[in-house]
Amino acid sequence: MTALVIRGGHLIDPAGGVDALKDILLRDGRVAEIAGPGKLKHTEDAEVLDATGLTVAPGLIDLHVHLREPGQGYKETIATGTAAAAAGGFTSVAAMPNTTPVNDSPETTRWMQAPERGAVVRVFPIAAATRGSKGEAINDYAALKAAGAVAVSDDGLPILKDNIMREALAAAARMGLTVIQHAEDTRLTHIGDKVASMNVGPTAFKLGLRGWPNEAESVIVERDIRLTHELRELRPHLHVAHISTAAAIAAVRQARRNGLRVTCEVTPHHFLLTDEHVGLYDTNAKMCPPLRSAADRDALIEALLDGVVDAIATDHAPHAVHEKEVEFERAPNGIIGLETALGLSLRWLHHEWKMPLGRVLNLLSAQPAALLGLKGRGTLAVGSYADAVIFDPKAEWTYHTREGKSKSRNTPFDGFAMQGRVRWTISEGRIAYDSAL
């Protein structure tokens, strides 16, 4: 296996407590040595990456992506999705199970990780919490974990029934797995044969669209916290996916004060955009949960700044162009996000809202790694996986969807200003993305 030296860069590894100019030697997929500039030993056989003026950080970890395989390769494949991940600085992605078939089996879990899929960064499957994600019977978590699943979730759908959610939390706790909940009380968002397609409020009223009420999220989060509390002897870990409302944030904040293991992630679109960004029926601004009011968006920003939010996740959800070129109410939910998360986070969280760079990176690497129990990731300490992102933190650029690596183009961020340009992404010692190529 080849060795790689990252020379002259500014290493920021919050988990390892490093924020200084360092040279790094990567060997056999691991971090072999870190030393002051020019001080590395044993570099004779190593390829050198000149990172002068660049920041070197642990590879980013996205705990919420949809890679669409098996079964929906026309939207994205594991190969194209991980290429997009690498271009965005991500070295690990946790893939949600709402594929075709639903990933509720060890076979599918293993299939997703097989080398034949052509992944250029590490894929960690999240298995379905219930059989077929139907919310009726929980899966065999021991077998799924043995096959490589890092968490369980029915994402795209909630685990709605109290007794099933309780069972899932208990079974997952026994296996040391996290239950990731898509918090949506579908009894409040599906009205008869009609489905709410955007946030409830004046904008939805004006556009004549059925509104998704905030309570549909918060009642599920509150219910799940109650169950987590009832099962506290087992120390279950509840993780709230794509949290989007002030009420749900408040519930998570209180649960944490009460000592419960409740974590949450927020997406860049939810902390940046509001329901007004739907404009006149932009299907690229349609996702679930929907873009919220300015008050909710501001609550998310506040929660990011004060540390209630554990991770930034993209909810990368590719859809083919023809699927989004339809009437707003008929368009599928979801937007892609792997190639814009870092640029938007640095542009807004760091540059505009003054969050220290190390904290931004923590939200994108160390904290999601801890949340999923990914050992040896989210840090560049000696001995950990050689997963790194090397980027120019000062570079300002404009994102153009057409230049992206994802197979799909559905994003509201086309033409948005970004900060921080990825130069190289290194996955377990191999260059997974090189901006010069």
Binding site: P14, I191, E325
Partner: protein, 340 residues
């Protein structure tokens, strides 16, 4: 790392909302917002002029121009009056409906629009059950698109013909439309506001002319948030109080096809909100009664009111043809109007 305290938080900058690119085509009429008051004055004047013109001369205006009517929902008044309007100006029209067309086979709105354009359609009049469909069609075809009702969203030509009816009664002879034209006038809209595109177009248009708009209905059909749709909109749940204040009473149908499982006690509804001869005589003896149709006699209003002297419901229908002639003419004569 020290968490930032939120106590000292300054107002944070966030990404702005981009300006709307719509309408792409200056001939389109997607929303009542697409018309400035100046364009509105012109349109109303043209409606009158076209109505009074010799039909044989009028038929030369758009002689042999091609206009497609694309109807995904059933319609009597809107479809017929658009068709009569287009034909009255000499245009060739063709009707495509979701039944008996390739839409039944799964053809998308985009492909249907592109097909009509390839067939030579120079403008498309669309009615569709999904809010925003007219915008999508315009973005895909870049043709002049006339919104004949999109879901629960807008029905701009209905608001224009309602305005023409209101002006004929309350401001006869007015020529120039200004922000004060309807100052002092209260127009109430009662019924199923939530599902009504007619209500939305009217509540967004009439306050721009100075009118006060009162919305009335039960919470299930009139959420509080409706008052935030724009300036000059109020909610009053007491129907008698509404009657007392209104110079114009616009009544709406309960839209059974859009209730989506919502349970409504119709007897209770009638007891509170039905416009009856007694109520009208007692509280609004001079108000103009409007209804966009179709009316359900005995539900939102009694047959006596529908046929009574205060009803202008058929006058609205007649005005539909004149207004739609002006709108169709505008669609095919570029660069009239412009966004409000």
């Amino acid at each position: 790392m020290t968490p930032t305290t939120t106590k000292t938080r300054r107002p944070l900058a966030t990404p702005p909302v981009a300006a709307s690119p719509f309408p792409y085509n200056p001939g389109s009429l997607l929303s009542v917002y697409d018309l400035t008051l100046e364009a509105l004055s012109h349109l109303l004047a043209r409606a009158t002029a076209l109505e009074n013109q010799d039909p044989l001369i009028r038929a030369r205006i758009l002689a042999k121009r091609r206009i497609a009517l694309l109807f995904y929902e059933s319609s009597t008044r809107t479809r017929t009056s658009f068709e009569l309007a287009a034909k009255g100006l000499g245009a060739d029209t063709t009707l495509v409906s979701d039944k008996s067309s390739s839409i039944e086979k799964g053809e998308s709105l985009k492909d249907t629009g592109l097909t009509l354009r390839a067939l030579g359609a120079e403008a498309i009049i669309i009615r569709h059950p999904n809010s925003g469909a007219a915008w999508q069609l315009e973005a895909e075809t870049r043709l002049p698109v006339l919104n004949a009702g999109d879901g629960m969203h807008e029905h701009p030509t209905q608001a224009l013909l309602d305005l023409r009816t209101i002006l004929a009664h309350l401001r006869p002879g007015v020529e120039e439309i200004t922000p004060e034209t309807l100052a002092g006038v209260t127009v109430s809209i009662t019924g199923d506001i939530l599902h009504s595109r007619v209500a939305r177009s009217n509540m967004l248009l009439l306050p721009r002319l100075g009118a006060r708009v009162i919305l009335c209905g039960p919470p299930a059909l009139l959420p509080e948030v409706a008052a935030q749709a724009g300036p000059g909109i109020e909610i009053e749940r007491d129907f008698e109080a509404v009657l007392r204040q209104s110079q114009v009473m616009m009544m709406l149908r309960i839209q059974a096809e859009r209730l989506a499982g919502l349970q409504l006690d119709l007897d209770e509804y009638k007891a509170v909100y039905q416009l009856t001869g007694q109520r009208l005589a007692a509280f609004a003896p001079t108000a103009v009664v409007l209804h966009p149709g179709p009316i359900i006699r005995g539900l939102e209003l009694t047959a006596g009111v529908a046929d009574g002297p205060q009803s202008s419901i058929l006058e609205q229908v007649r005005n539909g043809v004149a207004i739609r002639m002006a709108v169709v003419e505008r669609a095919l004569s570029a660069n009239q109007g412009g966004r409000a």
